[in-house]
């Protein structure tokens, strides 16, 4: 499965558009991580726990998007976009969407 955020894949033609596919996930970390983040809030700097959290969430969202694309018989997803929002304190929603297409 080819995933790209370009609209046109160089050197390949899109033979069929299969519509929008999307994947989303809401994740939170355990309390210990939140506590560490609270301490880091005093000193400043990277919150490694949250970076990991969002990275995992993003992978999960992309996986779900891929599954949807496979279900409709696509072999590529183009024009992929991400969007993040915080739902509550310590939890984040990651949303990925794109167009499922068949490349020749």
């Amino acid at each position: 499965m080819l995933i790209s955020n370009l609209e046109i894949i160089p050197g390949k033609n899109i033979t069929e558009h299969l519509g929008l596919v999307q994947g989303s996930t809401v994740r939170s970390k355990h309390v210990g991580r939140d506590l560490m983040a609270g301490i880091k809030n005093i000193f400043g700097g990277e919150l490694v726990g949250y970076t990991e959290l969002l990275q995992e969430a993003r992978e999960e969202a992309v996986d779900r998007m891929k599954q949807q694309a496979q279900a409709v018989g696509a072999n590529a997803i183009v024009n992929v976009r991400f969007s993040t929002s915080s739902v509550t304190q310590g939890a984040a929603e990651l949303f990925a969407y794109g167009s499922a297409v068949i490349l020749e």
């Binding site: 894949i9 160089p10 809030n41 400043g44 990277e46 976009r81 993040t84 984040a92």
Partner: protein, 153 residues
């Protein structure tokens, strides 16, 4: 009364800690960013979605980089004061600058590992992931993503 005094002392201690550690971490982070930017200068990031004709044989692959960075206690206090008078909030400007550059660097690193030297259609996404009770921004997440064109030999 005693409890009030304790809170003031605690606040001051946090401010001092935030000032020194925050400054130190920020300085170190900027040094590392500048160094890695020089190392990865050969990976070019392009904001256009149109590739050139000569790239038609190169497969594209999505690359991403993300980071969550928190502002320190002292800067948060400064930013709070700034909202009274208005104007540029430099405390948050440097935070966002650090976060964006770091995210782009991580994306470039991923591209380099795939033997790509150009990333097309870069998009940056910023989200504030935690807010404290008074509504101040605690930390920001920046996600950078684009399509890397892989050089195949």
């Amino acid at each position: 009364m005693e409890q009030f005094q304790f809170q003031i002392v605690l606040g001051l201690v946090l401010l001092v800690l935030g000032y020194f550690f925050g400054r130190y971490f920020e300085k170190k982070h900027f040094e590392s960013i500048i160094q890695r930017e020089a190392e990865l200068a050969n990976v070019v990031v392009i904001a256009s979605k149109y590739t050139t004709a000569s790239d038609s044989a190169k497969p594209g692959m999505m690359v991403t980089g993300s980071v969550v960075i928190s502002v320190d206690y002292f800067k948060r206090f400064l930013a709070m004061l700034r909202t009274i008078f208005g104007g540029r909030v430099t405390a948050y400007e440097t935070l966002l600058d650090r976060a964006r550059r770091e995210a782009i660097l991580r994306m470039k690193q991923e591209a380099k590992a795939m033997n790509a030297d150009r990333i097309f259609n870069i998009k940056l996404e910023t989200a504030s992931i935690s807010k404290n009770a008074s509504g101040n921004i605690g930390s920001v997440e920046v996600l950078a993503y684009g399509t890397a064109l892989i050089n195949v030999e």
